[in-house]
């Protein structure tokens, strides 16, 4: 286990390019301490989703190194990567629910891949779906849910495993302000319990209301702004 002051994610000179195209992210240097909370901002196409995908190990960088939980992923065994992913909760912008499954089965997925006992799964899934106010839609197919309901199922799925890292891509994009506020409070609560949180968002209101450091993607690079001092601080070294 990591000690409290250790970095949970580290990136060094990371670059991403797709096929033979130009780099969309260049020389990214990033150190996220355990238990930190950051917003990830940038214009559309700035590379927020790509940066998040590096963090949840959905792709490897074109260059540079990434360490997660203190382990360089280039040297991690395949089974180790799966173990790392179990400690990362992800909320996707497009939810990425399995549409043919019920809300219950979608939320149960991270527990089932860990071979958890079905009775314990039922207890936890019921608890989390009640918390996101979807207990009355528990056995409805994901395809029949509204955008906001899908968003809440996706959030329940991301946090049910009590992850060490929570990565959310526009988690409040499809919900009203009241639910958005409630979701943000959940993320803050999780953060207080020790979860490292990174939230990609366009919402200036949320960034203003919840005063956490902001990782800003601009011109293929990553910059940091602190709430007390919004001046440009150069390459990130959190």
């Amino acid at each position: 286990m990591l000690k409290s002051k250790e970095n949970i994610i580290e990136m060094n000179n990371v670059g991403i390019r797709y096929d033979q195209g130009p780099e969309i992210l260049s020389n990214i240097k990033l150190s996220l301490p355990k238990g930190s909370f950051h917003f990830l901002t940038g214009q559309s196409g700035a590379g927020k989703t790509s940066l998040l995908s590096l963090m949840y190990l959905a792709q490897k960088p074109s260059r540079g190194t990434i360490s997660i939980f203190g382990q360089n992923i280039d040297f991690a065994q395949r089974s180790q990567l799966a173990s790392f992913r179990r400690r990362i909760g992800v909320v996707f912008q497009d939810f990425r629910l399995l549409e043919h499954l019920s809300a219950y089965d979608n939320v149960a997925l991270p527990l089932r891949v860990c071979d958890m006992d079905e009775r314990e799964i039922k207890k936890r899934v019921t608890e989390f779906l009640t918390w996101v106010e979807l207990d009355h839609h528990m056995y409805d197919k994901a395809s029949t849910l509204s955008g906001g309901e899908k968003q809440r199922v996706a959030i329940a799925r991301a946090v049910i495993n009590r992850p060490d890292i929570l990565l959310a891509d526009e988690p409040t994009g499809n919900v009203d302000n009241i639910i958005a506020g409630k979701l943000m409070k959940l993320f803050v609560e999780l953060n207080k319990l020790g979860t490292t949180v990174v939230i990609a968002t366009h919402s200036e209101k949320i960034i203003r209301d919840f005063r956490y450091p902001r990782l800003h993607l601009q011109n293929r690079g990553l910059h940091v702004y602190y709430p007390a001092d919004t001046s440009f601080l150069g390459d990130i070294n959190v």
Binding site: L57, S79, S83, R85, D105, L109
Partner: protein
């Protein structure tokens, strides 16, 4: 549907809805059909060789040809005289249990299928035959025995049936080798079909697999779902193949037993052979599961 008491767990991968399932069931059904027919052939040939071996084990025949340079009366008398000497000699050999010269009636009965009822065998220069039973544990040198016999009865020849049996065994071995090749090819084609179908399915299920990976599913978790699904297809395909194969085996058996001469009709499948054949759906299920499991594992290795 809200809050039912029990909702069966659905598989994350929607493999049942893929239309390749029917194709694979048919392919596996055909493969198991060919496999069952070929396997029954191999087992029947094995049983045939065993029967032949049993029937000739401990049995030797001596044939005495009447001299050709005499008239038939003298020739028959010479042959009979040589038969008597040969019988006397053979009875003195260690390891020979019983020596039985065939009577004219027995010889006539043997030749009847070729010559018919109207021919008097005593008027023909038919060879004399002596049937010998030997102790199967006795170590008799047949070459030496043949030479010794020739000194007593110059027109006598010894036949321990090994020559023609060896030719038949070589022929049967050839058939078995062809059959084994067919079995190997059928297995390889089935595995190949499963391999390509699985790869195609992995492409179709790519987005689901990606999500499963992201939430921490190991490759074995995905491979097991595939293996279970393909195992069921393999079993159903196997059952279909066997349902067609059993009547076909009986039909071929009835055709074989209709052949006169008592060679092929001696073939019959034992209970253990039938158990082998009836176990083929389990075998096809196992092949499908193992092929799928390792195909999925190998393919997923290429994903992050």
């Amino acid at each position: 549907m809200s809050n039912p008491q029990f909702v069966p767990r659905k598989q994350e991968l929607q493999l049942k809805s893929e239309n390749t399932s029917l194709f694979l069931k048919i392919i596996i059904g055909i493969a198991v059909f060919i496999f069952a027919i070929t396997l029954s052939g191999v087992l029947a040939v094995d049983s045939m060789i065993t029967n032949w071996n049993k029937s000739i084990l401990g049995s030797v025949t001596v044939q005495i040809i009447p001299p050709s340079d005499l008239n038939w009366e003298k020739s028959s008398a010479a042959a009979l005289a040589m038969e008597e000497k040969a019988v006397e000699f053979l009875r003195s050999v260690n390891g020979i249990i019983k020596v039985t010269p065939l009577s004219d009636e027995q010889l006539a009965e043997l030749l009847n299928p070729w010559l018919g009822d109207d021919v008097d065998i005593s008027k023909l220069p038919a060879p004399r035959i002596i049937d010998i039973k030997i102790d199967t544990h006795a170590n008799i040198d047949f070459d030496q025995l043949s030479k010794d016999l020739a000194t007593v009865a110059p027109n006598a020849s010894l036949d321990n049936h090994k020559l023609w049996l060896n030719k038949l065994i070589a022929f049967a071995d050839g058939l078995k080798m062809i059959a084994t090749t067919i079995l190997f090819l059928v297995s390889a084609i089935t595995s190949g079909a499963i391999f390509y179908t699985t790869n195609m399915s992995l492409g179709l299920q790519h987005s689901v697999i990606e999500i499963l990976h992201i939430i921490g599913a190991k490759d074995t978790y995905i491979a097991q779902q595939y293996a279970k699904h393909m195992g069921i297809i393999g079993f159903i395909g196997g059952i279909i193949g066997i349902l067609f194969a059993i009547p076909a085996i009986f039909f071929i058996g009835s055709l074989a037993s209709a052949i006169e001469g008592g060679i092929i009709s001696e073939t019959s499948l034992k209970i253990i052979d039938w158990l082998f054949i009836l176990a083929l759906p389990l075998f096809s299920c196992l092949i499908a599961m193992v092929t799928t499991y390792y195909t999925v594992k190998q393919t997923l290795k290429k994903m992050l």
